[in-house]
Amino acid sequence: MFGENIRLALKNLITNKMRTLLSLLGIMIGVSSVILITTLGSSAALNIKKEIASSGMDLIMIYGGWGNARSREIFHPGLGEELAESLPGVIDSTPNLTSSVLAKSRSKEASFSLGCISPSYRNVFNIKMAAGRFISQRDSKEKYPGVVLGNKTARSLFPAGGAVGSPIKLIVGKTAYQFTVLGVMKKKDSNMGAEFDNVILMDLNYYKSRIVKVDIIDSFFLKAADPEAAADAKLEIKEYLSSKTSEKDAFWVESPSSISEMFSKVTGTLNIVLACIAGISLLVGGIGIMNIMLVSVTERTREIGIRKALGAPPSAIRGQFLTESAVLTLIGGVVGVLLGIGLGKAATSIMSWSFSLVPAACVLSLGFSAVIGIFFGLYPAVRASKLDPIEALSRE
């Protein structure tokens, strides 16, 4: 009987192709926008994740509290390595000791910010070189007198180019120190207070053994193992450092607003939009279906009368019309899903994102479509099943 009903339903829907299509518009638009939005949402998430790594969302910064002398137990030069070794959430680190310095090339001289860092700095900030190379571990070990210039620094000291390999003089205090330019960094937006364009970078090891003896560092930058887990790593670090000092506010640990927060904000908004669209289209689509089913029942009153005369119980008539509206909305759902996938593919390719479909959204949309069909088809179906056979048979 059920198979029979499906066959009948398809037959009826095919006879009224245009009407079927129009009545399904609501469901189709609703389902396709749900699929489109979930697709865009998940594709966007995928691409944001990809970009996060390069935009430094995985950074964590540690610096001393205001007004307190930085404790030697915490802000010693090896803190970064210590944290990277003991905490699984931290994979790399660099110290960061900043001061200002007067730099002289053959033709120019100007004041710059001097950053004393370790070779890991490059990995922590994903530094890309415009020319030459970054400070290497070997440079650090052998205390090679080399520096790396920010893009602007290089431009102002070497306006004619050819910075890499050139000698450069840095004046610290009253002493002039001779260095070689190892490389020039690409332009890069500043990140968490770290600046890249107007700087000169030097190996901390060299600085503290040859220029100024330091045993307390301003701040450290750490790289979290996973951008999404930066917030967790931050907590690990706080806990670790707290165990080393009883002093309150001895340190600050910061990370860019955690990714998961951002994600939940984005997906929260998306979900609201989604719920609105789904809700409205459900209502509009459902009312459309109810309307078309009522028309169908009226048109087929005589058929219903004949079926009743042949012995169809009310349940069979009800089942026939319910199946029809469920098949109808299910078709709308399938078309909507396909349409949504197509639109999603088009939209992501325009934005040159990689395409990511949410299978659960497809399955749920289809299930939902059928439920709408049954829910909104119920009233027309019950009405059909309650028709008086004599009256129904006398209808033209």
């Binding site: 005369a309 012995g311 009310p314 069979a316 056979p389």
Partner: protein, 226 residues
């Protein structure tokens, strides 16, 4: 077959229709017994209540008062579901306007009552084909009703009425929409079915049709004329 078994019994059946303030007595205290194996014709002027009577006998309608027994069961005590079961198992209808389902093929039309009886699809087809063969419509059974002549449509309708082997076949002016020659063929078919032992009630305007039946019931103003 037990010829004297009472299949249908009406006792003082009244059917009123309310038309605004007027009350139309379509049936005005009608009593009737029909035995198994009978071929009965019901004749009477237009508006005398013949169709109303048929609808009540066929469990499509309920009387305003009085009782109707079908094979000994009081149908006034039955709900819609039980009535639909009775119509399916015990009654076969033949209408003046054929009332075939236009979107289904002839074969599917004949299968429909079997579907409601819960007969399996494979068995259904065989039974429907047998019924169609019996009424002389072995061919064109995969055609739609609109592709058939009036006589062929009525044969298909008769096949549909007999396919469940009901205890009673009710035909309301089965020849009304047919030319005389075709009408005669259809009447012959009813006689043949009656000879095979089926109980048949035919409503007609046509005296000639009626006189060929073994029993004639005359209706006037909702009553039986004696």
């Amino acid at each position: 077959m037990d010829v004297n078994k009472v299949i249908i019994e009406l006792e003082n059946v009244r059917k009123e229709y309310h038309m605004g303030d007027n009350i139309v007595n379509a049936l005005d205290g009608f009593s009737l017994q029909i035995n198994s194996g009978e071929l009965t014709s019901i004749i009477g002027p237009s508006g005398s209540g013949k169709s109303t009577l048929m609808n009540i006998i066929g469990c499509l309608d309920r009387p305003t008062s009085g009782s109707v027994f079908l094979e000994g069961n009081d149908i006034s005590l039955m709900n819609d579901k039980q009535l639909s079961r009775i119509r399916n198992h015990s009654i076969g209808f033949v209408f003046q306007q054929f009332n075939l389902l236009p979107r289904l093929s002839i074969l599917e039309n004949v299968e429909t009552p079997l579907m409601y009886a819960g007969v399996k699809a494979s068995k259904r087809k065989k039974m429907a084909e047998d019924a169609l063969n019996k009424v002389g419509l072995g061919e064109r059974i995969s055609h739609k009703p609109t592709e058939l002549s009036g006589g062929q449509k009525q044969r298909a309708a008769i096949a549909r009425a007999i396919v469940t082997s009901p205890s009673l076949i009710l035909a309301d002016e089965p020849t009304g929409a047919l030319d005389t020659a075709t009408g005669e063929i259809i009447m012959n078919l009813f006689h043949q079915l009656n000879n095979e032992g089926r109980t048949i009630v035919i409503v007609t305007h046509d005296m000639e049709v009626s006189e060929k039946c073994e029993r004639i019931i005359r209706v006037r103003d909702g009553r039986m004329e004696v």
